[in-house]
Symmetry: C2
Subunit: 313 residues, 2 copies
Amino acid sequence: MTVLILTVPEDVTADLVVAALHERAVPVVRLDPAGLPGEVSMSAEYVRGDVHGFLSVQERLVSMSSLRSVWVRRPGAPGAGAAHRSEQSEWLTAEAERALYGALRCVSAPWMNHPAAAEQARYKPWQLYTAHRAGFAVPATLITTFPQTAREFAEQHPELVVKSVSGTHPGKPPMVLPTTVVPPDPDFSSVSAGPTLLQEYVRKSADIRLTCVGARQFAAGKKAGPDQVDGRFGSPEDAQWYPVEPPARITRAVRDYMDRAGLAYGAFDFAEDGDGTWWFLECNQSGQFGFVELATGQPITAAIADWLARDGS
Amino acid sequence: MTVLILTVPEDVTADLVVAALHERAVPVVRLDPAGLPGEVSMSAEYVRGDVHGFLSVQERLVSMSSLRSVWVRRPGAPGAGAAHRSEQSEWLTAEAERALYGALRCVSAPWMNHPAAAEQARYKPWQLYTAHRAGFAVPATLITTFPQTAREFAEQHPELVVKSVSGTHPGKPPMVLPTTVVPPDPDFSSVSAGPTLLQEYVRKSADIRLTCVGARQFAAGKKAGPDQVDGRFGSPEDAQWYPVEPPARITRAVRDYMDRAGLAYGAFDFAEDGDGTWWFLECNQSGQFGFVELATGQPITAAIADWLARDGS
């Protein structure tokens, strides 16, 4: 039984997991869907009730029915590698995407994460809703195109931050859009030009990153500077990630969230306030974990390898 | 409790369903997501465990918690209506899509069809696999980039058709790509350039369209001409859709397929052969039904209105 890893060729994080799987003597096929067609070949045959699927890369052939697990790490878009060869590349991309993921959606192996769960988990409004239901403390949040609703929300919550709903940035190439504090007495009239996410500003003592891999949870903290808003920017220079023990309430809520979301992997971001409360900010179903492991020594790579290596057969 | 219909402004099929809902005195809000932001406004507020969502169009305001059902008919892309106003239109589209569908994914109302089920149901390889499991007769099918596998398949199945995997056409603007008979002694070397779908050619006496709306099924047939391959092209001029009674095995398999797919609506295409066997070709989760209703008088519009109007409260 083979582990299938879908990711781009240059991916140090995947390299580490592949090495850990080799240590466990678990067969691995790693491929980038961008290589289909070309470096990557595929076949799926449906005859009289039987389905036989195969993938091939670098002269290795793997049967889809012999897959132990599938790790969707950082895959390129199918067909993208052939873009220079054909004017029909947009069509070829669609054909290759439908063929590859359509065939893979038929395998019974567990996914980290299944594409349907991943797609749902990317919706920030759905994250907030699910976090509420799972029992997390969530800062009051508004997503709106009504200027008047934004004004009323700002009256109730005088300290606000504004974020991107999609997590992307309007620039090209896309950059990270930092979370920003809303200045006093703001003009909300431009809210009508696009959905705006306003959130109660949590004055935090630390950023928390909790990485969940199946049933295992790894939490790490990093001291926040005074008035620091976005953990990705402006940390004190000497701030380092250190391992922390999550409160029991958080451990339960993480488990509940993962179940509701159908996720096998999730990277949760919290803001810890002065009272020690962890406020849910988001759960990134494909969040990086290398920086936490490097700083804390938490065995996240090993946990992923263990999860992928589980033999259900 | 209100029915929400997501579709473009010019949609005669939706007009008929709206009229049927008015007859039933059921409140309806119809909007095109392309109108967000602009004609369409939205708001979703997450405060202390409660979620309040609102949509507004043409001065009507509807609470997301008062939705009875959601019909995803033919929606435009969120943000698209604002494309001319902003250089950031791609970003705005992403923000509007995430905000609107993210908030709607939190409603407990039933969908026709839920976006996750719709996405899965569009994958043809997944359709074939699910059709097999549901108990349909499915023509032998191969999707491959291996020329040798294509050759071997052609030896076993001398009469083949070739189809698009994605259902789209390489041209611009996109057209329908007709299913085509593979000529004798074909050169399959170009199969390596892109996944190719080959299927056993069913010599059919009739095309069958079965429209499933919740638990109700409406089947219609249309006589096929000699050597006619694609039901959308080259029908005999006097061929008309007529109502047919589906075999019990088909009725059961349709129910099973819909359950596995999590669909509330599906348009199934079959080829009926000379022995009266219905061969599964595909299930289009957003297939048109107006032409069948017009020809057969089957009350599909009324069935959709009934399904959307069901009051779960």
